[in-house]
């Protein structure tokens, strides 16, 4: 049985120009500016699509506008497992609803919202449970959203009729008041396992990598092959970095920066200061991957690898690791660096070698912070037809 969580206020701040919808005062302000919540509508679109192949299906959900309403409108049968206490739902309600869905044994969780919702869901859903975001938020840095509600509903239908393979995706969120102050500084909060649709028989004209996890492992192998004795490697966060740690057989913290030297972990969850001390007296490189859906190498979830650290690393500071699929998902947009130091960002801009597998790499463009904010805004619009259509 699938589970559904709707964040009823997701995206309400977008049309009102509030850069997000976190917190009750912002939501009240958005309503005051005439914004109408659209999350339920988005949920219905996804569920109608899901209902085509699963007419009358039962859906685990939360009461009222947290899911039940959309389930009923879509002609499906709600089984309410959580009821929010107040009239205005909060982040705590999303977390509690997600936990209730997990406890009720939901085989897949659809959630309707943005990065904030994804962050709350990832806090409560155990790894291995397929989760998919229906895009309805203002901020969508995380890589866990379907391209549209209808596409999300179709993937959900396929996921329940036959298990789809899962990809582990990073969940990023920014503090919205910072965005309003002109800063974009998202933090990595965790991971969700997202189902994806593979090509079917026809696609086998060309052999593809068996699965994304094989591709990630291959990229990790390619990176580890480039490791040299006596050099310290600063492993950033991200699912690809977890694969690098697995190849090295070291325990890696899931959200932190860990340092390995000659195959051994010498520093876990390092702070910027610790990294600076370490790299001051030995050769080192930072190993980073593309975090989230927007193509950031630095400045998203790995702020410990700061401008000062990059400077201290010397001429060739970065070893970038990512699967070809991750590069392709950028749709031609450059990789982005945002160390909050324009001269460091500028020094990293240009072309960088991205290790994509054993003995394979891609040359890819990197752009600096100034371009980054602009590119992020543009791509958020591109990736989210709803934001686009409602702001017109």
């Amino acid at each position: 049985m699938i589970g559904l969580i709707v964040n009823p206020v997701a995206g309400i701040g977008g049309p009102a120009g509030l850069k997000g919808s976190d917190g009750e005062d912002v939501q009240a302000e958005a309503r005051g500016r005439g914004s109408v919540p659209r999350a339920t509508e988005r949920a219905e679109l996804a569920l109608l699509e899901f209902a085509r192949g699963n007419p009358g299906a039962r859906v685990l959900t939360a009461s009222g506008n947290m899911g039940q309403d959309a389930v009923v409108t879509a002609g499906l049968e709600p089984e309410v497992v959580y009821r929010p206490s107040g009239e205005h739902t909060t982040s705590a309600d999303t977390i509690a609803a997600a936990a209730a869905l997990a406890a009720a044994g939901a085989s897949m969780v659809l959630f309707v919202g943005g990065d904030g919702t994804a962050r709350d869901v990832s806090a409560a859903i155990p790894p291995g449970t397929p989760c998919l975001g229906i895009p309805a938020g203002v901020k969508m840095y995380s890589g866990c959203f379907a391209v549209s509600p209808v596409a999300g509903g179709a993937i959900a239908a396929q996921s329940v009729s036959g298990r789809l393979p899962l990809q582990r995706r990073e969940i990023l969120d920014v503090a919205e008041d910072e965005v309003r102050a002109g800063r974009v500084d998202p933090t990595l909060f965790g991971y969700l396992d997202v189902p994806y649709v593979q090509g079917r028989t026809q696609a086998r004209k060309a052999s593809s990598t068996g699965s994304e996890s094989d591709a990630v492992r291959d990229a990790a192998n390619g990176a580890v092959r480039q490791f040299r004795p006596g050099v310290a490697y600063l492993l950033g966060p991200g699912s690809t970095m977890a694969a690098v740690a697995a190849v090295l057989c070291v325990e890696k913290t899931s959200l932190g920066v860990d340092v390995v030297l000659d195959g051994r972990l010498i520093l876990a969850d390092a702070t910027e200061q610790q990294l600076l001390q370490l790299v001051a007296h030995r050769p080192a490189r930072a190993v980073v991957t593309v975090i989230g859906g927007q193509g950031f190498l630095l400045g998203r979830g790995n702020q410990q690898i700061s401008a000062a650290v990059i400077r201290a690393l010397g001429e060739d500071p970065l070893l970038v690791v990512a699967t070809n699929d991750k590069l392709i998902a950028l749709g031609g947009r450059p990789l982005l660096v945002d160390t909050a130091d324009a001269s460091v960002d500028e020094s990293l801009a240009g072309y960088i070698r991205v290790v994509t597998g054993t003995d394979t790499s891609s040359l890819y463009r990197v752009a600096a912070a100034d371009a980054a904010i602009e590119a992020t805004n543009t791509s958020t619009r591109e990736n989210n037809s709803w934001v686009d259509s409602t702001t017109k």
């Binding site: 699509e49 085509r52 192949g53 391209v147 549209s148 209808v150 596409a151 509903g153 179709a154 993937i155 036959g162 649709v197 090509g199 079917r200 028989t201 026809q202 696609a203 086998r204 004209k205 060309a206 052999s207 593809s208 990598t209 068996g210 070809n324 699929d325 590069l327 392709i328 749709g331 031609g332 240009g350 072309y351 070698r353 994509t356 003995d359 394979t360 790499s361 891609s362 040359l363 890819y364 463009r365 037809s385």
Partner: protein
């Protein structure tokens, strides 16, 4: 007054044959025979003795082979039925197999290759007794050299990827001969080059660097230059790329590669739009390949045998696969004494029937005709592109708004966002109208891709019919998505269980493997 025959509807009504035909092994009846082999005549037995008895015991089977036992007519019916449960270049408007160049293979060439003078040749017979066919090989090599501008051509390989492999093998031998093999360990390609380039380079032991398109969607020259260095062995690129976009800076790419001592290899699988218009040698390339079964009309034969051609300049001539056909006055002979050759890349001298077909095709058209082929292929493609881009939800990413050469890799991303129907599902539903397409090579760089290449073989009317059918399927995706999602409805089979193809425990490509994996038979 009503017409005696009702007019046909705008869209063709189609239903595929469905014979529910068993596998040939299941049709076997013990003792049934297609051919009764005559008794050995007494004179022969007297002369050669007991042939079977003279074989060593280790070579003799202990039990007869498990082959189907069937009368001729049943065999005929079986395969004719299977052939009806199929779409092919001779049946449908086969423009959906972009990059494959599914053009008309003239039937007269089939008559020629079935001539006993050709069909009865043996690859081990004395070349002195096969001068005619050697003359055809010789002339075909010369014509392909002229078409590409290259110095010499080898027709040994049996397919395009095999030719690409031969090309990287020659490049490797070149660097070895110059003592630079240890230094030159990288090959550069582009993400929209055919993946065989990366695969062949990898198989030859090279590290592979892939270049993504620039902001305008063209191969990124600056990225390529950033990747080049003393470690570069070669660039291996397709042009036009699989998007149908011709690299406008191709000469700069080649010059940049040469400037660091690397060689330049040109994948010409997509040559159908450039015949008589551009030449690999004029862009400075050291080596290129052709697929005779694409550009030069020979049948694809469903995976083989195709035929490849490798064309090289003076630098790489010593490394050509061997033996090489040489001429001494009126006499043609094979030269096997070539110490720097990469050696054999295929049995004997190539796929002779396909070389004869390609020769015949080129001779029938002449130089001007080849150029006309390219011009019509490009015109057809750009006409079809206009029709396709009128369908809601279709786009042609990269270099948008520009013309394409001979094919286009389109995207259904917008339609997918609106309907949840994937490109693959559209292609499957299209087969209910007697047409089809494939999506794209992996990885799917273009989201929800489909690749169309109309070649020169199709009329405007046929291209319209194809575009109309596609437009209809997209209408269905909006109005009745379940109809599309549950397709095909008019086909021999409904859905295939593709999961079986992902699992080595379940896939079975032979009858014996099927019996073993599904019924636990050990024999």
């Amino acid at each position: 007054m009503s017409l005696p025959v009702a007019p046909k509807p705008a869209l063709r009504r189609f239903h595929q044959a469905s014979w529910d035909e068993p596998i040939v092994f299941e049709l076997s009846t013990p003792g049934e025979r297609g051919v009764l082999v005559s008794e050995i005549e007494a004179g022969i037995t007297e002369a050669v003795g007991d042939v079977v008895g003279s074989l060593p015991a280790s070579l003799r089977r202990t039990s007869p082979p498990a082959l189907p036992e069937m009368a001729q007519m049943r065999v005929l019916r079986h395969y004719l039925r299977l052939s009806q449960e199929n779409l092919g270049a001779d049946l449908n408007i086969d423009v959906g197999q972009g990059t494959c160049t599914m053009k008309y293979s003239p039937k007269v060439n089939e008559v020629i290759i079935r001539n006993p003078k050709l069909a009865d040749l043996h690859p081990l017979q004395d070349p002195a007794s096969a001068q005619g066919v050697l003359e055809i090989i010789w002339q075909t090599e010369r014509m392909l050299a002229e078409i590409s501008g290259m110095h010499r051509v080898s027709l040994h390989t049996q397919g395009g990827s095999a030719a690409i492999w031969a090309n990287i093998a020659m490049i490797r031998a070149y660097h070895e001969a110059n003592g630079e093999d240890a230094q030159r360990r990288e090959v550069i390609t582009t993400i929209f080059s055919h993946p065989s380039n990366a695969a062949a380079a990898k198989a030859a032991g090279y590290r592979v660097v892939t270049i993504h398109p620039d902001e305008e969607g063209y191969p990124d020259l600056e990225a390529m230059k950033a990747a080049l260095g003393p470690q570069t062995a070669a660039i291996m690129v397709t042009n036009p790329e699989d998007t149908g976009i011709f690299n406008p800076h191709i000469r700069d790419w080649v010059d940049a590669a040469h400037a660091v001592g690397a060689l330049a290899s040109y994948d010409q699988a997509n040559a159908n739009g450039i015949l008589g218009i551009t030449r690999a040698h004029d862009a400075g390339f050291d080596v290129c390949h052709f697929n005779l079964h694409k550009t030069f009309s020979t049948p694809h034969a469903s995976g083989g045998p195709g035929a490849g051609a490798s064309a090289v300049n003076h630098k790489l001539e010593p490394f050509l696969p061997g033996p090489v056909l040489e001429r001494d006055g009126d006499r043609l002979y094979f030269d096997s004494d070539r110490p720097q050759s990469i050696g054999k890349v295929a049995p004997f001298y190539g796929v002779i029937p396909n070389i004869v077909r390609a020769y015949s095709w080129i001779m029938a058209l002449g130089a001007e005709g080849l150029k006309t082929v390219a011009e019509i292929a490009v015109l057809n493609n750009n006409y079809l592109m206009k029709r396709i881009l009128e369908i809601p939800g279709a786009s042609a990413p990269y270099a948008e708004g520009r013309h394409r050469i001979e094919q286009v890799r389109y995207s259904w991303q917008r339609m997918y966002e609106e309907t949840g129907i994937t490109s693959e599902e559209i292609g499957i539903r299209l087969s209910d109208y007697g047409m089809h397409y494939w999506t794209s090579h992996h990885p799917y760089v273009v989201p929800q891709p489909f690749t169309l290449e109309p070649t020169e073989s199709y009329s405007m009317r046929e291209l319209d019919e194809y575009a109309d059918a596609l437009a209809q399927v997209v209408r269905e995706a909006h109005e009745d998505p379940d109809l599309v999602r549950t397709a095909p409805h008019n086909q021999t089979v409904h859905h295939t269980h593709h999961d079986d193809l992902d699992d080595p425990e379940r896939w079975a490509t032979t009858w014996r493997a099927y019996r073993r994996k599904y019924f636990g038979e050990t024999r």
